[in-house]
């Protein structure tokens, strides 16, 4: 059941209608049942897995909090981490490791028996695994007290608006909201409605429309510079709008339920350097990696060399988190490399604040990010090579590239306008604060574009596969 489908609309309105009439405890039970139903619609066989992960971390949290013995506490933490990562690793990376082990054996002259595990990747496993792990680690660190109610904890793990593609909510933020009485205000409903519309616009108008361009561009038999450039630009907007559109809809839906989810994207293409980009892109994952990996590894406290190692290791794992393929590994290495180069470059320098330079830096950063997206989207390293080679082998600009450039502009111009305003005013809530005329124009534009250009087929979100 996709957010951008009619089935979900009916499901959500039914749940919401009942939800508003229930007292707090029953609301949580309803949310839990609705979340399990929502997840079960994807594949009911994996409900057991999510239930197992919930019980594991619920139990581990209670045991860790109950004990004063550091060895016992650490023991339970390790059990939770190993089992969680074990499940994630089995479902997500088994075949990748088997494939690469086979290649390695072949290089050593051994012909291995060709076999694969018949595994389906459970939707959202990377998201809820990280979410539950953060809870156990926070309890271990005594940064929060454990959740005593299994219903509340299970609702936190399976909360359907953000279950399958984030944001990866920290227990310290979401659990208290689930545990305490919530009120759904009219203002929250209105602002939630805008977030849902805006998210749907990003997904159905921008991402889904550009998906066809991207597929054509990346699957072209013969690459030309113009078409490669446009395909990569299109993918940059597709992946951003697909993922941030989901996050916006998740936030809007949660707001209708009286719950505030974290902002997962903050105009990432306005970033001026790699560090800035990772402060704006998939914020819930980057802060997770920062708090549970980069800082425990030593962060930047152990000298420049160790900082670089920590950065590259964190980004490498960030890349692997996205999927089991060498292109993701290289993407992670590339992002780590960007961060290292930026850190080395900015060491001892002052931040320039001139507007002119800011725009130049934004443009440069956007292209650096696009280079990464080429690695991310390509099917193989050979394809990456062929696409790069097009820039000197066939530096031409054809009709397809011209049409694509205009199509990218036509579908995404309201996004540019809104983001420019958000960036200029440093306020993500700009649309709600505009005066009547521009706000009306924005709402009408979004509605008309959804009607005329929106993909009604309900295409799946890219990040579901991660």
């Amino acid at each position: 059941m996709l957010f951008n489908s009619m089935s979900f609309l009916v499901f959500f309105l039914a749940v919401w209608g009942i939800y508003l009439r229930l007292p707090h405890r029953k609301q949580n039970v309803l949310l839990l049942l609705a979340s399990y139903f929502f997840y079960g619609c994807w594949d009911y066989r994996f409900l057991g897995l999510i239930a197992f992960s919930t019980i594991l971390d619920y139990g581990a949290g209670l045991r860790i909090a109950a004990s004063e013995n550091i060895r016992v506490r650490r023991g339970y933490l390790w059990i939770s981490v190993v089992l969680n990562l074990g499940i994630l690793g089995y479902f997500k990376y088994s075949n990748f490791f088997i494939e690469n082990a086979e290649v390695l054996l072949q290089l050593l002259g051994i012909t291995p028996h060709h076999w694969r595990l018949d595994i389906i990747l459970p939707v959202g496993i990377s998201f809820y695994t990280f979410q539950t792990m953060s809870y156990t680690i926070d309890v271990y660190r005594r940064q929060m007290s454990p959740c005593r109610s299994l219903i509340d904890f299970a609702t936190y793990v399976a909360f359907f608006p953000q279950l399958v593609a984030g944001p990866i909510e920290r227990a310290s933020r979401l659990l208290p909201q689930i545990q305490h009485t919530r009120t759904v205000t009219w203002a929250a409903v209105q602002s939630g409605f805008w977030l849902i519309m805006w998210g749907l616009f990003k997904k159905a108008v921008i991402a889904d429309n550009l998906a066809g361009l991207v597929d054509q561009g990346f699957n072209a038999g013969h690459y030309q510079a113009g078409s490669v450039l446009m395909s990569v630009y299109a993918f940059a907007f597709q992946i951003y709008c697909d993922f941030s559109g989901y996050s916006d809809m998740a936030r809007g839906l949660a707001r209708w339920l009286g719950i505030e989810l974290m902002v997962n994207f903050n105009n990432p293409y306005f970033a001026v350097n790699p560090s800035d980009f990772w402060r704006r892109w998939h914020i819930s994952l980057s802060t997770w990696l920062r708090d549970y990996l980069y800082i425990p590894l030593g962060g930047n406290r152990k000298g420049p060399v160790r900082t670089y190692v920590n950065l590259s290791l964190t980004m490498l794992l960030g890349g692997i988190w996205h999927g089991a393929a060498w292109t993701f590994v290289i993407w992670g290495v590339y992002q780590g490399g960007l961060l290292m180069v930026h850190r080395a470059w900015s060491y001892g320098r002052k931040e320039t604040s001139t507007e002119r330079w800011t725009w130049l830096r934004r443009i440069l950063m956007f292209h650096a990010v696009c280079m990464g997206w080429l690695l991310f989207r390509a099917q193989s390293l050979g394809q990456v090579g062929s696409m790069f080679a097009a820039f000197w082998r066939a530096p031409t600009w054809d009709l397809w590239a011209a049409n694509s450039a205009l199509a990218i502009f036509l579908v995404s111009w309201p996004l540019w306008v809104v983001q420019y305003l958000q960036e200029r005013t440093k306020n993500l809530d700009v649309p709600a604060q505009l005066s009547l005329f521009p706000r009306t124009a924005l709402y009408a534009t979004v509605t008309i574009m959804l009607l005329v250009m929106g993909n009604a087929g309900g295409k799946a979100f890219i990040y579901f596969q991660f």
Binding site: M6, T425, A456
Partner: protein
């Protein structure tokens, strides 16, 4: 929200800054006119070079556009106190949303206007690729419907049916042969009875029309169960209730979202044109394709497809229902119907097909008696088509088309001279 405004608010400050530069709006309008005026817009629509560069940019249209753009900052400025007033009077009402819905309604009204429709469908037709037969036929049908609205064609002959007719009739020759009676080509690729029923509004059937329809066993078999992509661009409330009544309750429930889609398309032109707006969006400067290698079908898949398409025939009850509804509609509006049975290449022999052909022929014969229309089965058609008159299994080539057109014209002329069943 507006009541909480203050000059410290950066959003408010930004709006003030934009409004202080109000003159940029009409300037933008003027620049837009210069870019799109002087025939450039229409040459873009038809993907042709500018044919009338001598037209002055200082025409009344330019001034109207400039004036319209001048109103934008004025409306914006007036909207500030108005928004504040409305949000104070009725803070619970989402005014911006309500006004935006009004704007959407205005745009919907605008896209229904003949000027916009003409430009849109001309642009869509110009951007149809070699294989986009449906897109080409659809835009022609919609453009013809616009022309028909403003003209009073006397006693037209309306030709409907699928690609069998489009390949099987030379319309230019037919028009010449049956003069002075006008011939309207309303046939489209894949137009089965259900689809013809759905497109009722655009078929322009009137009291004095004579409708010529081609049908074969294939029109009643192996059709997509709810072809929403075909139905959407031609949906209207004249056709949709009939279409929905062709399906059982269970089928409607099974296709519930497609039913909703069709109902929205029947109400909103913005929704109806969506698939073809995409073609403008991605073919703005013309038709362009990358050298994508299509995934080749395996021999087994090809065999299965061919088999399913032409041999393993399965009757579609909703198509039979649709044909009955269509004949009822024709009778109600006083039009006369002549149904020609579409022929099939004699090479395509199969027991199942022959059986279906016979069954459909019998059924159509019965219907002709019950619903008062003329049915001309292939057995009564004096065509003598040979193997070499066919392009493929179901479509005629140029020699077959010539024979068929002559036969149809002769048939119509005979009917006219006999005064039989004439309007």
């Amino acid at each position: 929200m507006s009541s909480q405004r203050s000059f410290d608010n950066p959003v408010w400050a930004w709006e003030q800054r934009v409004l202080r530069q109000w003159w940029t709006f009409p300037l933008c309008g003027f620049v837009g006119c210069t870019l799109l005026g002087q025939g450039r817009f229409w040459s873009w629509v038809g993907l042709q070079s500018v044919d009338d560069p001598s037209t002055s940019m200082w025409c009344s249209k330019t001034w109207m556009v400039v004036l319209f753009f001048l109103f934008i900052p004025l409306l914006w400025r007036c909207g500030i106190p108005l928004g504040r007033f409305l949000s104070q009077k009725a803070p619970k009402i989402p005014w911006a949303l309500a006004v935006s819905l009004l704007c959407v309604a205005c745009v919907e009204w605008g896209v229904r206007s003949p000027l916009w429709q003409n430009a849109f469908w001309l642009a869509v037709r110009a951007r149809a690729g070699q294989q986009d037969h449906f897109q080409r036929e659809l835009s022609s049908l919609r453009l013809d419907a616009l022309e028909f609205r403003s003209s009073d064609a006397p006693d037209p002959l309306i030709v409907i049916g699928s690609s069998q007719v489009l390949h099987g009739l030379d319309f230019h020759m037919l028009r010449e042969m049956v003069k002075p009676r006008p011939v309207i080509r309303s046939a489209m690729f894949g137009m089965t009875p259900l689809k013809a029923l759905s497109a009722w509004r655009y078929l322009r059937v009137t009291k004095k029309s004579k409708v010529l329809m081609w049908l074969s066993a294939f029109d009643f078999t192996n059709q997509q169960s709810f072809p929403i992509d075909w139905l959407r661009p031609l949906a209207s409330w004249q056709g949709t209730p009939g279409v929905l009544s062709c399906y059982s309750f269970k089928e409607r429930l099974q296709h519930r979202w497609k039913v909703v889609d069709l109902m929205v398309a029947s109400s909103l032109e913005l929704w109806r044109i969506r698939d073809y707006f995409h073609s403008l969006e991605f073919r703005f400067w013309g038709v362009s394709e990358l050298n994508n290698v299509p995934a080749a079908l395996s021999p087994q898949q090809q065999a299965r497809m061919k088999n399913e398409m032409r041999y393993d025939l399965k009757l579609m009850p909703f198509e039979l229902n649709a044909f009955q509804s269509l004949t009822d509609k024709m009778r109600t509006c006083g039009a006369s119907l002549v149904v020609f049975e579409g022929g099939v290449n004699p090479e395509l022999a199969s027991k199942t097909r022959l059986q279906y052909e016979q069954d459909i022929r019998t059924w159509l014969n019965d219907q002709a008696v019950q619903h008062d229309f003329i049915f001309v089965p292939t057995t009564d058609q004096d065509l003598s088509l040979l193997n070499e008159d066919w392009t493929d299994m179901t479509h005629l080539n140029s020699s077959g088309r010539l024979k068929n057109t002559r036969y149809v014209a002769a048939y119509l002329l005979t009917m006219r001279s006999m005064g039989q069943k004439e309007n």
